[in-house]
Amino acid sequence: MSLVITNLQAAIDGNDILKGLSLEVPAGEVHALMGPNGSGKSTLAKVIAGHEDYEVTGGTVTMDGEDLLDLGIDERSRAGLFLAFQYPAEVPGVTMANFIRAARQARLPEGEEIDAVAYYKELYEKMDQLGIDRRFTSRSVNEGFSGGEKKRNEVLQMMMLEPGYCVMDETDSGLDIDALKVVASGVNSMRSPGRGFLVITHYQRLLDYIEPDYVHVLADGQIVRSGSKELALELEQKGYDFLKEEVPVAG
């Protein structure tokens, strides 16, 4: 049971961004993906989720053995893939409560309806856990949200949809230390033997609160180093520059 990325190559507008990336995230583990700006971190997240701007030019992505690249964006989601966005889109006029409800409804068999009472009970519990105000349910999705509110909202949706694999794209950016702690504790509460996490971050800071099992370093579209969480600390001290010499040996 794992999310397996093998020799993945992807391009946008004819520019190759991912150049043979391989990575395995088994269920039950947290893998951190670090790397300098422009290394392809966010591209990887979008390609896994099926963003149509990116063309997959080679390689495979499977989730528990199922070929993800064959599925539509929504099918990947319903199969258990969740992407916490770095920049979540605004959806004017659609309330948070209705949005999450629609996402839950999309997972039910045809003709089956969500139990509204149970739904709100669960929603409120998880909002309390993330320190989100109740009035939040009637606000339009991400509209006028602060950076921190958007990120908490992503984690709330993740908790409500209970995915098998979570890809978190720079969830720590724009968060102050208190918000970071709340978000991290939300993520930690979701860690379980049946669920895998790929946590994408530029900074080591997040990993103080979400402790990874493995750390991978991405540079120029390939994984150039993999190791334990100490690798993140090493990066913090040395910066990403020391990787430059190592690029050619990867793959």
Binding site: A49, G50, H51, E52, D53, G72, I73, D74, R76, S77, R78, F82, L83, F85, P88, A89, E90, V91, P92, G93, V94, N98, F99, A102, A103, A106, R107, S140, Q157, L161
Partner: protein, 475 residues
């Protein structure tokens, strides 16, 4: 980054769901004015309806006006030229008087309205219902409690005969025959529509509703509605329209006149879901006297071409006018809608909020007229019109005409055109919604604040209609 949702081949035309209204029964008309329009047609209608002399004269004068006016194609769409006035049947009825008992309504007509959910709605939350089938009302009922208060709710044929002293002074005064070519046509051949009078101080708590149904091919429906709210009274009136889809185009050309006397409040709610080969050319206007309020809440989902610009003439000091409008144009449809706000007294206030959605090759047009003359003071207008384009070949146009003279007024105009961005769709789909579900959620969000203005039963129906329309809009 906000990019248009580009069309792929699969995103072209979409089917409009009018399944609920798309059925018809065999015609059995005792009276049929035949095809085409001439003075003899007018006389036929007058004879069948037993019109009083003044109405016969009114109709004949209107016919002359109609024939003398050119099609307004110098500003409106050329599609109007595809209306063939010579093949239209201007009057069809089975000769039965409207009944007050649902059981007495002829079976095929009764089944028609029952399939459309009438009169279950009446039992549920309405104070009265009128149901019109082709040219004449088939059923008309007002609950006793409001009848006791002196509220009159009948069809226009009965109104002009039984209540001439109230009807005649206002008939054709808010919208003169020669206002436009189609108001003249309606004045010549009108039949059916509602006449409502609410006496002084009476506040009608539940809405009155009329339902218009076209059942026959090549038919023109020309209902005429006149609503008068006397001083300090209040009324909400709702209107719904459907027709089955016939091979040939059908014409619906109504005239609706509203009068709100001093301190009265009159709200007119309309949801139009005509099949997509109906020409829907309607003139609607209200007069608001001192401190009175006229609100039009208008939703256009169906028809091939709708041209409709509800207006309010604010004639008395502190009068208020409002138009709230939602239009959805799918491939093969043109929703040409808007509002007219004529300020004719000091301290009058008008508000226009319009939202349109164009899907596929659908086209929506907003035309707004705001007129505030120089000699007035303290007038205010607010206009907001927002257009949402779903596909790359969808179209929207805005033609605001705001004439404000003098410097003691406040006007504000905001317009926007937006698209459902690719990033929004990606986000919604990543949460498990199909592309169609994502699109319909986004569109429902766009009109959400206006849908709330409709009564519960209508807003639920509206959301459902929008979902159905959007489901097919994407591959």
């Amino acid at each position: 980054m906000s990019k248009a949702v580009l069309d792929s081949g699969t995103q072209a035309a979409i089917d409009i769901d009018q399944s609920k209204g798309d059925f018809s029964y065999p015609e059995s008309h005792k009276y049929d004015a035949g095809c085409g329009l001439s003075p003899a047609t007018i006389d036929y209608i007058c004879d069948v309806k037993e019109d009083p002399d003044w109405v016969r004269k009114f109709r004949h004068r209107a016919l002359k006006t109609f024939l003398g006016k050119p099609m307004p194609t110098h500003w409106a769409t050329k599609d109007l030229e595809n209306i063939d006035f010579d093949i239209i049947r201007y009057y069809l009825s089975d000769g039965a008087k409207p009944t007050r008992s649902w059981d007495e309504v002829p079976d095929d007509i009764k089944e028609t309205f029952e399939r459309l959910g009438i009169p279950e709605q009446e039992r549920a939350f309405l104070a009265g219902v009128e149901a019109q089938y082709d040219s004449e009302a088939a059923y008309s009922n007002v609950k006793e409690e409001i009848e006791k208060d002196g509220v009159i709710f009948v069809n226009s044929t009965e109104g002009l005969k039984e209540y001439e002293e109230i009807f005649r002074p206002w008939f054709g005064k808010v919208i003169p025959t020669g206002d436009n070519k189609f108001s003249a046509l309606n004045s010549a051949v009108f039949s059916g529509g509602s006449f409502i009078y609410v006496p002084k101080g009476v506040k009608v708590r539940h809405p009155l509703q009329a339902y218009f149904r076209i059942n026959s091919e090549n038919f023109g429906q020309f209902e005429r509605t006149l609503i008068i709210c006397d001083e300090g009274s209040e009324l909400t009136y709702m209107e719904g329209c459907t027709a089955p889809k016939f091979e040939t185009a059908t014409l619906h050309s109504a005239v609706v006149e509203l009068v709100a006397m001093k301190d009265a409040k009159l709200q007119y709610i309309m949801v139009q879901n005509w099949s997509d080969n109906v020409f829907n050319l309607v003139t609607k206007r209200g007069i608001a006297h001192e401190n009175a309020e006229v609100r039009w809440i208008d939703c256009n989902i169906g028809s091939r071409l709708t041209m409709k610009y509800p207006g309010v003439v604010m004639k008395g000091r502190r009068a208020r006018g409002e138009v709230i409008s939602i239009a959805l144009a799918n491939s093969g449809q043109h929703q040409d809608t808007g509002a007219k706000m004529i300020h004719a007294a000091d301290e009058t206030t008008s508000n226009v909020v319009s939202k349109s959605i164009s899907v596929g090759k659908g086209r929506s047009t907003y035309r707004g007229q705001v007129h505030i003359p120089k000699h007035l003071k303290g007038c205010r207008n607010n206009t907001e019109c927002d257009a949402l384009l779903i596909n790359a070949n969808s179209r929207t146009d805005t033609y605001p005409a705001i004439t404000v003279r003098g410097n003691q007024h406040a006007t504000q105009h905001e317009a926007s055109v937006s698209q459902v961005s690719e990033e929004m769709l990606f986000y919604l789909q990543q949460r498990g919604l199909s592309e169609g579900e994502a699109m319909s959620l986004a569109v429902n969000g766009f009109v959400n604040d206006l849908v709330r203005e409709f009564p519960m039963e209508y807003s639920v129906e509206l959301k459902r209609l929008i979902e159905l329309e959007m489901e097919g809009s994407v591959g």
